[in-house]
């Protein structure tokens, strides 16, 4: 059984025909072609599918797509602005916070949902906000460094590279 839904994703309006049993994640990946959000476990354990819905981080693998209607969905594809990478993305690049990259889209979304409300979040607050995102590569240290750096950049308006003295 299919139904027609109207979704708002990264500022774009989409009218999509989706099977009623699709999750938001399946709709993003297999209907809209937005494959940035990853399908890691499909049961809420890994956080690789994290997206931002109405400003809050949620797991798209366990959100029925119908519940995204009438809400503003943001995915990793929508984080960069017209002027290029977001400070959070630049910070991940500069600190080496992504290795294989599978967890990165979800972590960027969890971190952004935190920083947009609280750019001065400390390391503990960051660790708590990211507790639902597994990373099997980095050991988290560089991810926390990146989010701290991004927070500094977002609250001061300076470039992450400038803050750490990179050319």
């Amino acid at each position: 059984m299919k139904q027609i839904l109207e979704l708002r994703v990264n500022g774009d309006r989409h009218e999509v025909g989706v099977p009623t049993h699709f999750t938001l994640l399946e709709t993003l990946r297999y209907v809209l072609g937005l494959t940035g959000s990853k399908q890691g476990c499909d049961k809420g354990d890994c956080g690789a599918c994290t997206v931002i819905v109405d400003g809050e981080a949620v797991l798209s693998c366990i959100m029925p797509v119908q519940e995204a209607e009438g809400r503003e969905v943001r995915t990793v594809e929508g984080i960069a602005g017209r002027r290029g990478a977001h400070p959070l993305q630049k910070a991940f690049d500069l600190t080496g916070a992504a290795q294989c990259g599978f967890c990165t889209p979800g972590i960027l979304c969890s971190a952004l949902a935190l920083l947009e409300v609280n750019p001065q979040a400390d390391r503990d607050e960051i660790a708590r906000a990211l507790s639902g995102n597994l990373c099997r590569c980095t050991g988290y240290t560089k991810i926390f460094e990146a989010v701290l750096l991004a927070g500094q950049a977002m609250s001061s308006g300076r470039e992450p590279a400038e803050i750490i003295g990179e050319p």
């Binding site: 059984m1 139904q3 099977p19 009623t20 049993h21 999750t23 399946e26 499909d42 049961k43 809420g44 956080g47 994290t50 809050e56 981080a57 949620v58 797991l59 693998c61 366990i62 959100m63 029925p64 119908q66 519940e67 969890s110 708590r128 906000a129 507790s131 639902g132």
Partner: protein, 286 residues
């Protein structure tokens, strides 16, 4: 993996939801935050034919102050709202304390208090917390409404007193009695994981300094929340002391018959229950 096909209905009122559930019988399930139900469906551990989404039922949302100092919490209120509510922090500090222990931020942004209580996962925190707070559950079904004390709500593993077609609509928490203090302790492998064992406790101290009434409930050590009745009785009539706390911890561990699984053996769970009882009561003595 993908869930099997199902019919999705989104009622606009509680009456409509109850009618849809009644129509669907045992094959219909209410959908709250979906944070337990959808993972189960993705792996086909649950295959409801009809999902009745409670999303639009605003009458099931929100935290209201009762005149006597208690609270009424709508079943569809998000974990996140409880976590952020100053009213909850003031009137039900035990609920505020337990929220960060429940899953991860993304899950608390969607999961609901009613879903947690109705799901009856033996490792869930809220059933034990609501039990020690003497909460009363408000339920509505085809034959009208009724109330069920938490002590009578949990019947077994993932099983509650809810009949098919019945919805949990609200949770009523009476005010904390004067002289009452409470604590929550748990052990899990990583922050946000389900508990290996946990304990919620409320102790009411009388004017003479002796414990007048005690409520203690454990999680993840049985089929549902486990009321530690003999421990509660052992605390009453004397002041909390190193000795009474040692006794309480020993009785708690002795009375339990916890399950063994890949996460922890029965013996380890029993040990944890004793240690956590000790820690929680120590905090109340301090």
């Amino acid at each position: 993996m993908k869930p099997g096909p199902f019919e999705y209905v989104r009622p606009a009122s509680v009456e409509e939801a109850i009618a849809a559930l009644e129509d669907g019988g045992y094959d219909a399930k209410p959908l709250a935050g979906g944070q337990s139900l959808i993972p189960a469906m993705n792996f086909r551990l649950a295959q409801p034919a009809v999902l009745v989404d409670l999303e639009d039922l605003d009458e099931l949302r929100g935290i209201r102050a009762r005149e006597d100092g208690g609270l009424i919490i709508g079943a569809m209120t998000l974990h996140r709202e409880l976590e952020r509510s100053t009213l909850v922090a003031e009137r039900a500090p035990l609920v505020a304390e337990v929220m960060p222990w429940i899953a991860h931020p993304q899950i608390r942004n969607r999961g609901t208090v009613g879903g947690s209580l109705a799901h009856a996962d033996p490792a869930a925190e809220l059933p034990s917390v609501m039990q020690v707070l003497d909460a009363v559950l408000h339920v509505r079904g085809p034959d009208g409404g009724r109330t069920i004390p938490v002590d009578e709500f949990y019947l077994g593993l993932f099983t509650t007193a809810l009949e098919p077609g019945e919805l949990l609509t609200a949770i009523e928490i009476p005010p904390l009695p004067a002289g009452a203090t409470c604590a929550f302790e748990e052990v899990s492998r990583r922050h946000g994981d389900f508990a290996l064992a946990g304990v919620a406790v409320v102790v009411e101290t009388g004017a003479d300094g002796a414990v007048a009434r005690a409520r203690m409930s454990l999680l993840s050590v049985g089929d549902g929340p486990v009321l530690a009745e003999r421990t509660m009785a052992s605390l009453v009539g004397r002041a909390l002391s190193a000795e009474s706390i040692r006794d309480a911890a020993a009785i708690t561990a002795e009375d339990l018959d916890p399950p063994s699984d890949i996460h922890a053996s029965a013996a380890f769970r029993r040990h944890l229950a004793g240690v956590l009882t000790h820690r929680a009561l120590d905090r109340l003595r301090a």
